[in-house]
Symmetry: C2
Subunit: 320 residues, 2 copies
């Protein structure tokens, strides 16, 4: 692990993006979203993914210059077409639009279709909370998780973000519906550790805490077994319905080819109830790490010391 000044990371990444066809302004925003993930300690969805983002450009799945366009409006609910643009920029634009709609109507909702992986979903929750609004967003994915009752990956891990503003730092949930991501499985396997709780089935169909066995069988568990399975199916259906886009079953089941996903961005602008979020956080006591509890602390450390990054990944990026 190394530390890099935030601004240095942004300008290195932005430079690479400009050489790949981004205009200067969009390159810097995209680079900032990658750097923000590392700054907040979410390395897995920050610089670690920059290579796959460039790969999608090379494959022609991600069109650097494409901007999302409004295709249907019914007041506080809009549908946008992401036109295969950069997933992180599309998501940011659509959360901004949902926030704008919530200023006008109290609640705003944008369904976004035909977009790409949004990288760190938590960024768009923070975006809402920093406007002092409640933000909820989720995305579908390619089929990568077996539903309850099947051993085949037919549903998505469909990350969902829920963010509530608070003066001392927002409370932000950013979670996928699988109990452990493939990334997490390989981290545990590399450390030679077992999973802290069962993470899926081995090739004999038995629940296991062996990360390599789960990765091999390709049968990770959804959270809550049948419950997360149902939740994933509904998040997918609602995302496809609100966006008019693809459902998980329509998306190519190949991590290198995943594109054309559907997303939902909801923003709420209720009257302010000062102290509510603090009261809830305090009620959980000292030992409970509620979502986002440590993010501001990590961010402050990154502002002082530079953002954390994997040394190998950073040196690969420097060579691009």
């Amino acid at each position: 692990m190394i530390r890099i000044p935030y601004e240095e990371a942004v300008s290195v990444l932005a430079g690479i993006l400009v050489r790949r066809g981004f205009d200067e302004k969009r390159a810097r925003i995209s680079a900032g979203l990658f750097a923000d993930a590392n700054r907040d300690g979410v390395l897995s969805h920050g610089l670690d993914r920059f290579g796959s983002y460039l790969q999608a450009i090379e494959e022609g799945l991600l069109v650097p210059s494409a901007e999302p366009i409004l295709v249907h409006s019914s007041g506080a609910l809009e549908q946008w077409d992401g036109r295969s643009g950069p997933g992180n920029l599309n998501a940011r634009t659509c959360m901004a639009r949902a926030l704008e709609l919530s200023g006008e109507f109290g609640v705003g909702c944008v369904g976004l279709r035909n977009t790409n992986h949004w990288m760190r979903g938590g960024n768009y929750g923070w975006q809402a909370a920093e406007s002092n609004k409640i933000g909820i967003c989720w995305t579908n994915t390619m089929p990568n998780l077996p539903p309850w009752g099947s051993s085949k990956p037919l549903i998505g891990n469909n990350p969902i973000i829920i963010a509530v503003p608070r003066e001392d730092g927002p409370i932000v949930l950013d979670m996928a519906i699988s109990q452990f991501s493939y990334g997490a499985l390989s981290r545990y396997a590399a450390e030679g550790s077992h999973l802290p709780v069962p993470g899926g089935y081995d090739s004999y169909g038995k629940l296991t805490t062996d990360p390599a066995a789960v990765a091999e069988s390709m049968r990770p568990l959804p959270i809550g077994f049948w419950k997360g399975s149902g939740l994933s199916i509904l998040l997918d259906l609602v995302a496809a319905s609100l966006s008019g886009g693809k459902a998980t079953c329509d998306i190519e089941p190949n991590p290198a080819r995943e594109s054309g996903v559907s997303q939902v961005f909801l923003a709420f602008s209720p009257p302010d109830y000062p102290g509510l979020a603090d009261r809830v956080a305090a009620s959980l006591g000292e030992d409970v790490r509620y979502p986002g509890r440590e993010t501001l602390e990590r961010r402050r450390r990154s502002e002082k010391l530079g953002i954390p990054a994997d040394e190998k990944i950073w040196s690969t990026i420097l060579g691009m």
Copy 2:
């Protein structure tokens, strides 16, 4: 298990409610919501709960004549005060209002505070789907579940419902955030069965599939361990923020005194994409029981044979 004609169940329940202070019309609607739960096979949240509903009236927690009132509007987002009225009628009214708002604005959201247990949450999902709209609603509860990192029940099991219309019967998720409810734990214990997956901790702090041990320790698991714990906290915070009502930590931790809960009702009216829900359902294959898959079948059986009910509970009701 016995079968009772739907209309007979409704008129018996309605008669009891009229004697408890409901007017005729509201008594019949409330009775219908109880009967609907049994008709659809959700006995645990139908007639099984009628006794606790009456108990809440006797305790003065549930005011039969109280109707919800609008307290704040910002267009498509409204806040309503349930005024301690019947939880099922308040919820039905507020979902109806969200549906109305979604007709005008594309999306509608009602935050409801100061209400009572809504009984079967799935009813309000079906209500949305039967209007050919997408419905999402959730409620907070008293503290009844330990968050991840604590052994004390500090968070709620906060049921959430997501419903998508479909010609052959809507797809409706209706789930609480605990892996097993206390009701489910006692059913397994009464049958002498183990839970199919770990359901919580025993008194020694070990994960267990022994239902009695979990009930005794009062440490049931949230779905997905830390993930469901975070989800519960955020659902609670958003419900309290959108309604201006109580958060879980403000609600008396006593099942017989639980009242003044906060709820959210969201309705969406996107353009219609025919075939989407059928395509998603078909993609899951024959073996996967997606949410709501069996409900219509159960409903048809009930329409033919009468609604299923626990014999002892029905005879208690007849004696009221």
